[in-house]
């Protein structure tokens, strides 16, 4: 993974000194809350319902075991012993004291981490495929490009007060696991360079991104992005917070006209001053080699025997591992979706276990996925059973990746001051309702995504089943969306049926799933495919109790 040099260190050290000074000025009263708020947000510090929340950047979701241990330390020392992994591949701590934040940021800097630009109307953490560098279907590794963007966008002087936040995602594989079509800018690496999608997003008015450029050379990526951001900064709406994202500008101008303006602006830029030269791209790429793979003798027959003897292990291998570019390795997903607990949460002890697992079995590397799970990207097949047992002893062996209980859920009204309804209790109820492993496997691939308000942090628009919490005169109601997907065939779900109370949702999903199991052609037809074949209306009736 990327290693800081003196310049990277100096940048974070300077920012931490600046923020420490700002915190002191705030405590003394030289800064008002109104003035301090954007400054603390630029360092990931929110004031939520119960306390301050600190969001720490995990650049493009890549994490070392040492960094994971630092999260465990922060959870133990400054928080209530747990942390929450987010859909931005970041981590949030929910009970942070303002006066502690300078010290926390210092602890993070010691392991080359920070909370810079994890909030505010600036360019946020670039997200990518959690299996980058490992997946069999990869065309090119997106991580060096994400790092290039991280550096370019950090403290970009022109783009620190954009109309609204700005999110970039990159994928380098044929399967899109980074949801690039629902990002402000989505980048698809091809063998001819980048395809650039602009104007995707969720929130109040969801849009899928439009392809505005094909075959953009990587060496011109930064100047093109600079032009794209400048057009947005100048012409994006600032009069209405709900219309300020780039999707609204692109939709108002039309993608072609927006693309034309970007080209025009691009031509005015001194590109040679903006684009990092080949040598710098090569330097960054050199930090992302393949690991020094251990040649461990792997006996397929022995693995089969172990699976036959331990059904739990067999199921975990089936659901939680993905084909690796090397036949003797796999990528392992550690599900943070155990039955009845908040999606994406991990205790400090679990963080330490995951760090140990990475050191023992995965070359010290971990990833955070936007599905709020932790990935060990490179695991020798010979080590799978030892790894499984370590995880199993620590409540980390849920074998439900990609299944109905592998839900995305935002923190919702239990923590978030923007939410209209709770998400976590509903996710817990659903996971209990579908706790039966056999049933879950029979249902197959199914993504439920839950947001506690229209801001869509829980990605409800692109869940196969999306759930949106709304407030109706003081009562929580949940609208069900069907047919969304975030992959290379991205589609937006559509609200189906009437809003349901929290109590009614699990039973409604049960009826919906029962109907799907009756209607599917066979077990290879996934829920999303059956909905696609028959239409949402075929399922609307099942959501409501028969009269």
């Amino acid at each position: 993974m990327y290693v800081y040099d003196q310049f990277d260190h100096a940048m974070v050290t300077a920012r931490n000194a600046e923020f420490k000074d700002q915190v002191e000025r705030r405590l003394k009263g030289e800064l008002s809350e109104d003035q301090f708020k954007p400054l603390r947000l630029m360092n990931g510090l929110y004031l939520q319902l119960h306390a301050y929340m600190l969001r720490i950047a995990v650049p493009y979701g890549v994490l070392s075991s040492r960094q994971m241990r630092t999260f465990a330390h922060i959870a133990r020392t400054y928080d209530r012993d747990f942390g929450h992994f987010t859909t931005r591949q970041n981590i949030q701590f929910n009970w942070i004291k303002l006066a502690d934040t300078p010290q926390i940021l210092e602890d993070l800097a010691a392991v080359e981490m920070h909370a810079i630009q994890t909030s505010g109307n600036c360019i946020r953490n670039t997200t990518t495929d959690q299996f980058a560098g490992a997946a069999k279907d990869e065309i090119d590794d997106p991580r060096p490009w994400a790092e290039l963007i991280r550096q370019w966008s950090t403290f970009h002087p022109e783009f620190t007060f954009l109309p609204r936040k700005f999110k970039i995602a990159i994928t380098g594989a044929t399967r899109d696991r980074a949801a690039i079509r629902v990002h402000d800018i989505g980048l698809q690496l091809t063998d001819k360079g980048f395809d650039v999608y602009v104007g995707g997003g969720m929130g109040r008015t969801p849009h899928l991104g439009h392809l505005i450029k094909s075959g953009l050379s990587g060496e011109k990526l930064l100047s093109y992005l600079e032009a794209a951001l400048r057009v947005y900064n100048r012409y994006g709406r600032r009069d209405n917070i709900y219309k300020a994202r780039i999707k609204i500008l692109v939709s108002a101008l039309g993608p072609q006209e927006y693309a034309r303006q970007v080209e025009e602006e691009w031509a005015t830029l001194d590109q040679a001053q903006i684009d990092a030269p080949h040598a710098e791209i090569a330097r960054i790429k050199s930090f992302f080699p393949q690991p020094a793979y251990a040649d461990k003798a792997f006996d397929a027959a022995a693995l089969d025997r172990t699976k036959a003897a331990d059904a739990g292990f067999a199921r975990w291998v089936r659901n939680n591992t993905l084909a690796h570019r090397r036949d003797d390795h796999v990528s392992v997903t550690i599900s943070l979706k155990p039955t009845g607990l908040p999606p994406g949460d991990a205790s400090s002890a679990q963080m330490d276990v995951m760090a140990d697992a990475a050191d023992r079995f995965a070359y010290g590397e971990l990833r955070v996925s936007h599905e709020q799970n932790i990935i060990l990207p490179h695991v020798a097949k010979a080590d799978l059973y030892d790894l499984y047992r370590l995880l199993d002893q620590n409540g980390l062996s849920s074998a439900n990746v990609g299944k109905i209980t592998d839900m995305i859920a935002c923190p919702g009204l239990d923590y978030c001051s923007l939410a209209n309804a709770r998400s976590i209790p509903l996710a817990q109820d659903i996971s209990q309702r579908f706790a039966d492993a056999e049933l879950t496997d029979k249902i197959g691939d199914l993504q439920i995504k839950i947001s506690g308000c229209i801001n869509a942090c829980g990605h409800h628009h692109v869940g196969h089943i999306g759930i949106l919490g709304v407030d109706k005169q003081g009562e929580e109601f949940y609208q069900i969306l069907l047919g969304g997907r975030a992959d290379e065939q991205a589609a937006l779900g559509v609200i189906t049926g009437k809003g349901l109370s929290a109590e009614a949702v699990p039973a409604a999903l049960e009826r919906l799933i029962k109907l799907y199991l009756e209607l599917r052609t066979d077990e290879t037809e996934r829920f999303i495919d059956t909905v696609g074949r028959l239409g949402r209306d075929a399922f609307a009736g099942a959501l409501h109790e028969p009269a």
Partner: protein, 103 residues
């Protein structure tokens, strides 16, 4: 009838106004919050809005009666007064004050 609530500047924790001229008059336990008449509540809110080095984002929580929140505010204020309803810190706030749920 209303409650005055805010978050403490230094640690962000939820506070409830319980009488007195300074920050020590505020409590972390919603059960002990002073039930204020509307006019007094409005005046206190104005006073504390200006005291930004002590509390952040003060506002008034309307009550139907001494122990009943207005329905519109119910979930949010119930969660603030008792802690999250789910997860590692479920009803943490209530437990810390060794009491059951209020409101």
């Amino acid at each position: 009838m209303k409650l005055l609530t805010a978050n403490r500047l230094t640690d962000g924790l939820v506070l409830w106004y319980a009488g007195g001229p300074d920050l020590s008059g505020w409590t972390e336990d919603a059960a002990l919050a002073t039930r204020l008449e509307d006019e007094a509540a409005a005046a206190l809110l104005e006073e504390w809005k200006a005291r930004e080095t002590e509390v952040v984002a003060p506002y008034l929580v309307p009550l139907v009666d001494e122990n009943t929140l207005v329905k519109r505010e119910y979930v949010r204020e119930h969660v603030r007064a008792n802690g999250p309803t789910a997860g590692q810190t479920a009803f943490d706030t209530a437990r810390q004050h060794q009491r059951g749920e209020v409101f």
